[in-house]
């Protein structure tokens, strides 16, 4: 009996002491001056813009660094009732696809435009994963101005990555799929009938306008991520692949069998030559090209009919395969362009390949085999070296421009800093928890700024006040200016960020558009002054040409609309000053509001289904008399003879 009591006592003591044996947590990871390093005093601006993918919300968020403050949610592929994106008549064509109107997508990666491998920050590109598309955002207006659909693709994950002068944006397909007319095939005919297309979308150097230049018909692998060569490797593109087993079921197991998959090296300059020489084949493919016009304040959607394809089994010297251990996720090129880092997410090491060695191996035909005639290079011949024991689950690598690389480790939930030349691990920091992408300002370019690093995590758990089952995704900001990485800040994010890019605010903050000059407004529904405000009936369509200026709508009393009429409110915001948007909402509209920028015209369609008098009002607190900015619209029964009339400010 006494013995049992003793045992119990020992057991209880052990339990009581156990937490003391746990490794120390984040509380001790912060050192004293972290707060001052992220404190941006009231009225001061952040040093960097961080353009962050929204993942499953289909948007981008704009975050200031080092404060971590969210500055804007920028609608891209998903409708945004908050400002009418995808609801206004003008913006609906932007979300049109060959499948019709698609109100949502999954935006994973960001590419900020570059010149000579350095950020020029004119445009931000983003990918739609589910219905394959690429969007271009104008960074003078922070507005999506172009969306191009990618045919023959499914799961547009290996996208949008850009060449060093933004010559091309690429889109590699994650899912290989059967294409063309012969697409109703059995799934187990994968190897014969499925194809993995890699698209090169040309970007006009002046206007930024995209155009699907050509597609390369690659083997039916899964294409995961990509990076362009830069500086010395300019002219090449590197795509990571997995499922080179070509499995079509239970990929978790069946795509993890081979010790090595590939990094696919594409000589796109060579591909360009073949295109110029007319070696491509035009194939039928339906995809849309949507463009926003900043003068008509509206979008157009054009259906495209064909695409130029290159067959690398016939056209030599375009595609080479570099063996890379265990289902590589990220493939990243260092600022000099010499080193290509493959992050095999199941690999115990990180292989670093040498561009110089790759060229030499190609030159001397140092191949270990081929895939349908496309050479497979020898791993050892291309290898610069391996980072040994880096951690578990390497995903992505960024650079600081001082000779170091930073690799995110999903499984061991840490970021590892290592020397590119010597391949030695020099530092590691924990992340909270399970970091996916990481982002260094300028990190993927030839000129990283090497001051901060952000970890975008997949798991949040206990980091913030709990908010039920669904939590904000967490991010951490680190100071990487010294030898040791230092955790500075932990901040929640919007949506589910995957990749993000950051660049100095000074690149764009002085060229921001403040309002649209009303005299340049080319919308067919624009009003240049209050005198033109009117209502017109065309059959069962009623067009309300309305102005908004502090603090009234003209007209604000409308009668003569009948049940079932298609009412179009064409609202022009006549303000010519910064930060004076006006909103427009009418009771019962089953769409959304409009948020109209100064000098802009937007249209809301409304089909009243009942009689009554319907109030409308301005939704943006515009002025001291914002609450007075309202009006009424009377709806009479179908076929009623109520005279069409409209007025403002007439008191009887």
């Amino acid at each position: 009996m006494e013995k049992k009591v003793w045992l119990l006592a020992i057991g209880l003591t052990a339990v009581a002491l156990a937490p003391g044996c746990k490794p120390k947590g984040a509380q001790t990871a912060i050192t004293g001056d972290a707060a001052s390093k992220v404190y941006v005093a009231p009225g001061n601006h952040d040093e960097f813009y961080n353009i962050v993918s929204g993942g499953f919300n289909g948007q981008m968020s704009v975050v200031g660094l080092p404060s971590g403050r969210v500055l804007k949610i920028l609608p891209v592929f998903s409708v945004n009732p908050e400002n009418g994106w995808g609801y206004s008549e003008e913006s609906k064509p932007m979300l049109n696809t060959s499948q019709g109107f698609v109100p949502w997508d999954d935006l994973h990666h960001i590419a900020i435009s570059t010149t000579n491998a350095e950020h020029d920050a004119r445009w931000a590109f983003g990918n739609a994963n589910n219905t394959p598309r690429i969007a271009r955002v104008d960074l003078n207006t922070f507005k999506t101005v172009e969306i191009i659909e990618i045919p023959n693709s499914a799961g547009n994950h290996s996208s949008p990555f850009i060449t060093q002068n933004t010559e091309y944006v690429v889109a590699g397909t994650r899912f290989s799929v059967p294409v063309g007319e012969n697409n109703d095939v059995s799934i187990d005919s994968y190897k014969e009938n499925f194809k993995g297309y890699i698209s090169f979308i040309g970007v006009n150097p002046e206007s930024g306008e995209m155009n699907l230049s050509f597609q390369i018909e690659a083997p039916p692998f899964n294409f995961d991520l990509a990076r362009a060569g830069k500086n010395k490797s300019h002219g090449w593109f590197f795509f990571s692949t997995y499922n080179t087993e070509m499995a079509h079921t239970l990929l978790e197991v069946n795509a993890s069998q081979k010790d090595k998959d590939f990094i696919m090296a594409v000589n796109w300059k060579k591909a360009e030559e073949y295109v110029k020489a007319g070696q491509g084949t035009k194939k039928k493919a339906k995809y849309v090209h949507n463009k926003w016009n900043e003068e008509t304040h509206s979008a157009t959607s054009t259906m495209m009919e064909d695409v130029l394809t290159l067959d690398p089994t016939v056209l030599k010297d375009i595609v080479y395969f570099i063996p890379c251990p265990k289902s590589p996720h990220g493939t990243d090129t260092d600022p000099t362009g010499e080193f290509i880092v493959g992050s095999g997410k199941l690999a115990a090491i990180i292989p670093v390949f040498s561009f110089t060695k790759m060229l030499a191996a190609i030159e001397s035909k140092d191949f270990e085999g081929d895939i349908n005639g496309m050479p497979v290079l020898k791993y050892e011949s291309v290898l610069h070296g391996e980072v040994v024991k880096p951690g578990l689950g390497p995903l992505h690598t960024e650079f600081d421009g001082k000779g170091f690389a930073y690799t995110s480790m999903f499984v061991s939930s840490e970021i590892v800093k290592w020397n590119i030349e010597t391949l030695e691990v020099v530092d590691r920091v924990p992340t909270y928890y399970s970091v996916g992408h990481l982002s260094v300002p300028g990190g993927p370019t030839g000129k990283p700024h090497g001051k901060y690093m952000v970890a975008y995590n997949k798991i949040t758990k206990d980091r913030y006040l709990p908010t039920g089952p669904e939590l904000a995704h967490s991010a951490q900001l680190y100071d990487i200016s010294g030898d040791k990485m230092q955790l500075l800040l932990d901040f929640p994010t919007i949506g589910e960020p995957h990749y993000a890019e950051a660049f100095p605010a000074s690149l764009i903050k002085d060229r921001q558009v403040k309002f649209y000059p009303i005299e340049k407004n080319q919308s067919p529904y624009a009003l240049k002054g209050v005198a033109d405000a009117r209502v017109e009936r065309k059959g069962n369509e009623v067009h309300v040409y309305m102005t908004s200026i502090r603090s009234n709508f003209r007209p604000d009393n409308i009668e003569g609309v009948n049940v079932g009429d298609e009412v179009y409110f064409h609202v022009t915001n006549l303000e010519q000053d910064w930060d004076v948007p006006h909103g427009f909402a009418i009771k019962g509209a089953n769409t959304a509001e409009l948020l109209i920028m100064p000098g802009e015209t937007s249209t809301l369609k409304w089909v009243p289904d009942r009689t009554g008098v319907f109030p409308f009002y301005c939704t943006d607190f515009c002025s001291a008399l914002h609450q007075e900015m309202q009006g009424y619209l009377r709806v009479s029964p179908k076929g009623s003879s109520t005279t069409l009339k409209f007025s403002t400010g007439e008191v009887e």
């Binding site: 502090r550 603090s551 010519q576 000053d577 002025s623 001291a624 007075e628």
Partner: protein
Amino acid sequence: MKSLSFFNRILVLLAALLIIPSYFTPLWQISLWAPQYPEGLNMKIWIDHLSGNVDQINGVNHYIGMRHIGNEMFPEFSFLIYVIGALVAVGVLAFLIGKRWSLYAFFGLITLFGLAVLADMYRWGYQYGHNLDPKAAIKVEGMSYQPPLIGYKELLNFLAYSGPDTGSWIIMGGVGLLILAIVRDRFEKPALVKNPYTSK
């Protein structure tokens, strides 16, 4: 009457020529700051037009029922170019004549012109500030909201400034030259007059 020295005549010519830049530079400016307008609103008055944030100022002012500011509000714009042209002509004439009275006449005229401009500005400011629409959304106490003639003044949530701009400052520089000419003319040693007693 007394002739001007060569140097003083040059000063008169310079003063006349310094009026010319007023055709190409703003003459007057009015600026407004408020908590919502940290960058300020600025309106410039030129010889024949307005520029700057006129629309924004009108947008703000309509709440208290001020009249819409526009070029048509200033009949002066139709004749100021001739008045200033005449002033230049008088200056050049004074230089050609080169007598003390011509200097004084030019100085007198340009001073009078300056005073007239100020009086006109005050008259405009008074009318603009007192002619408020009685149906305006915000009733200003005493129904007056007159901008300052020169200097700063607080008006509700705005701090207003009114004052000369580049063109006027250049003209004033010219007036400074005229004052210099007058001072020099009065205090300079009389030109060597032959002493009848010492002359042979």
